[in-house]
């Protein structure tokens, strides 16, 4: 399990450790089953062609889940996620490496909570940000 992150140690512009994902068609089917999203563009090539796509595409919500993992891995088990925003700007296809990462954009205290905002994103193998977003987490403070 990832180590605990403390608010005291975070600096604006810190980068979140990269999380690499390689979704396969098998994973898309697995995600369809686990999430209950059975829209055929994610596993039926003929159906995808007929809607004008070049083939099946990765569920946007699966990419959100990857970015959720990026954030929860980074914050550690005593962190709390407050907000996760993800935009699907570009489609991603299976069997291509997706690089999930982010950067700390703000560190502040609000209503007694020690908060950190991050910009997060997924890049495809062409280095294009297909899936930008942001997240807000509450982090614990070091004992003093």
């Amino acid at each position: 399990m990832a180590e605990q992150r403390f608010w005291d140690d975070v600096r604006v512009d810190d980068l979140l450790p990269v999380l690499e994902k390689l979704p396969t068609t098998r994973q898309l089917v697995q995600y369809a089953g686990a999430s209950g999203d059975f829209y055929e563009i994610h596993y039926d090539k003929d159906f995808a062609f007929n809607t004008g796509l070049d083939g099946v595409i990765v569920h946007g919500a699966l990419k959100s889940a990857f970015l959720g993992q990026l954030v929860t891995d980074w914050m550690g088990e005593k962190g709390t996620i407050k907000r996760l925003v993800v935009q699907y700007r570009g489609m991603d296809v299976p069997n291509q490496q997706l690089t999930c990462t982010g950067r700390v954009s703000r560190k502040y205290i609000e209503d007694g909570h020690h908060l950190v905002d991050c910009e997060i994103w997924i890049k495809n193998p062409d280095d294009k940000k297909t899936t930008p977003g942001s997240a807000t987490v509450i982090l614990p403070q070091r004992a003093r």
């Binding site: 999430s35 889940a65 959720g68 996620i81 699907y88």
Partner: protein
Amino acid sequence: MDKTLKLTDDVRQSLIGREGKAMSATVEVGQIRRFADAIGDGNLLWIQREAAENAGYRDVMAPPTFLRSISAAVPSVPELSHLTRVLDGGSEWNYFAPVYAGDQIAAVSRIANLTQRSLSIGLAVFATLEVTYTNQHSEVVAKQRSTIIRY
């Protein structure tokens, strides 16, 4: 199929605020584990009760986007049935309390907004769907706003 149909103000106003039927489900630990496995997330908080308890939580927890699997009945929109293609534009989650294995979660979806835009793929309707998830203690645990593009 009339793909040029405009989203008239009347139709728009009648759709905004429309709710889907409330759906309720018990979060099963096996369902959380299957979801974590499907997204490839090995965080023990989503898998082992002991790990969750050692971290100060009362049971196995749900990962951030797990609530996607608690399906909310989408409001029915026969007015847009001529737009048969659907794309997911994105999601915005706000979290208010953790979701644990054993929780009873009710999900209600509501059309929060509708706009019409011209895209390269043709005329499209952007719907903002807001899903509110409430647990057995009547606590709102999360809200999800997603953008659904129909064209």
